[in-house]
Symmetry: C2
Subunit: 214 residues, 2 copies
DNA sequence: GAAATTCCGTTACAAAATTCACAAACCAAG
DNA sequence: CTTGGTTTGTGAATTTTGTAACGGAATTTC
């Protein structure tokens, strides 16, 4: 699906992910058609917001009717580029890495972890969830062989830069970094930071702030 | 630390978390003083942004000098309300829940998981990381007994609402929901959604978008 | 089949966030 | 003590994001 406008707000992308989640729930409940008003309520956003977000990508609704749930899910997925599978490499098979490898939802949502890499000789060769843990040095070969496009970093923070270097050198296109460390990559590589503590900090701040307001 | 202004942007809170991360790295490297310019570069933001974000909470810098790294970390922590420990309850001890329980960083950062709850009779009584898995029904008693304030939901999505209800009923103040499901809670309860797929969707979108731009 | 109703897409407007720009504050050197 | 070189904190300008309003397309009702 072609993008109409030049720049799309980061916040719009985040909301589209929420829309998919809520729409999938509607679908499971057997709802076929939904208005922007009803969807907005379920997502805790303004209904104009939804119509505007969708307008960046095309016209998906029917005036006087609303949006067909299944069609809208398909359209949003196409807009986000998740109407196809993405092959992923996971670097760092520790606690978190294993939890991700065992999570079936990644495959179901089209993010297929096809390679698991570690540098610990005791771990290399071990099977996790039907996948053999491979030495990080083999990344370049595996990236080419398996067509890996997205790298997932779940190493300790002090090793995150090295993992990123391996991934970039191997020709990966994007990186999702779960380690709490900033990493430097060439600017054509897309980089996302996932920091759980952001959420905890925000919660702590608001809980204390709300208390003070009383 | 008193808050100067009424409303503080959500984005500011998120950035403060990044500042702490980067400042901690500076500290480890032995840097004592840092200018907003240098911090900005390391965080990939504008330097006025940093000064403005900090100004919401007070005046932490010295003109002509910059910010004392350790002092600034302390000040930001106080501003966010993480200058003390927060007792947490984890509901749903599966793959992800276990990874979180084993993660030492939570305790180090002041988010201490003091209770692990599950509803699976086979899991109740099991020890994980020195903690006994307890039946969810005991939440109200444990919340009072241990002074638990933040609930972490790591149940399957279809059980997330029930877990939230338990937590709210038990008197928790905030919830961090790792399950991909919207939940309804009274508005005095602070709720944060952690959805890994947001990051994957954003990566997929940008990788494809950047390719198209060529 | 006309009128009333619903609800999308878009434009116009308002609000919020970000960046700019500069006075005031600080330090170091002479 | 003064001067010169920095760097903060903040009001003003700019950019971005979100909301409201409304014309028009589709459906339903009578
Ligand atoms: N466990 C959690 O719940 C959790 C939560 C939030 C963030 N994190 C972050 O995720 C990361 C991983 O956490 P964890 O608990 O799984 O740690 P872990 O120590 O259990 O696992 C890290 C793994 O990375 C491997 N590794 C180290 N250097 C490597 C390299 N250069 N190349 C490939 N593999 C390498 C190690 O051998 C190990 O298997 C950490 O940065 C942590 O801060 C973890
Ligand atoms: N595993 C991952 O890497 C991962 C990644 C992203 C999101 N998630 C989400 O996190 C959640 C947990 O994932 P998981 O892989 O750990 O699943 P899991 O099935 O391994 O664990 C879920 C646990 O919750 C318990 N549970 C169910 N209902 C409960 C209730 N009412 N009260 C208390 N406990 C209850 C189950 O007994 C089980 O132990 C899911 O919603 C999943 O979508 C997981």
């Amino acid at each position: 699906m072609a993008v109409k406008s030049e720049h799309i707000p980061k916040a719009t992308i985040a909301r589209l992910a929420t829309y998919i989640q809520v729409l999938s729930e509607f679908k499971r409940e057997g709802t076929d058609v939904v208005s922007s008003e009803r969807l907005a309520e379920a997502c805790s956003v303004n209904s104009s917001q939804i119509r505007k977000d969708l307008a960046y990508f095309g016209e998906f609704g029917v005036r006087g009717v609303g949006y067909y749930v299944q069609d809208l899910i398909t359209s949003i997925k196409r807009s986000l580029g998740i109407d196809r599978a993405w092959n992923c490499a996971l670097v760092g098979v520790g606690n978190l890495g294993r939890a991700l490898l065992r999570h079936r939802e990644f495959t179901r949502k089209g993010f297929i972890i096809r390679g698991a890499f570690d540098c610990d000789p005791y771990k290399i060769g071990e099977m996790v969830e039907g996948m053999e843990i491979v030495c990080s040095r083999q990344l370049p070969a595996k990236v080419k062989e398996l067509g890996l496009e997205i790298g997932i970093i779940t190493t300790p923070p002090e090793r995150a830069q090295r993992a990123a270097n391996y991934l970039v050198g191997a020709g990966i296109k994007g990186i999702i970094n779960f380690a709490p460390a900033r990493v430097a990559v060439p600017k054509h590589i897309h980089l996302e930071y996932v920091d759980f503590f952001h959420y905890f900090y925000a919660a702590a701040f608001h809980i204390r702030f709300d208390e003070q307001a009383d």
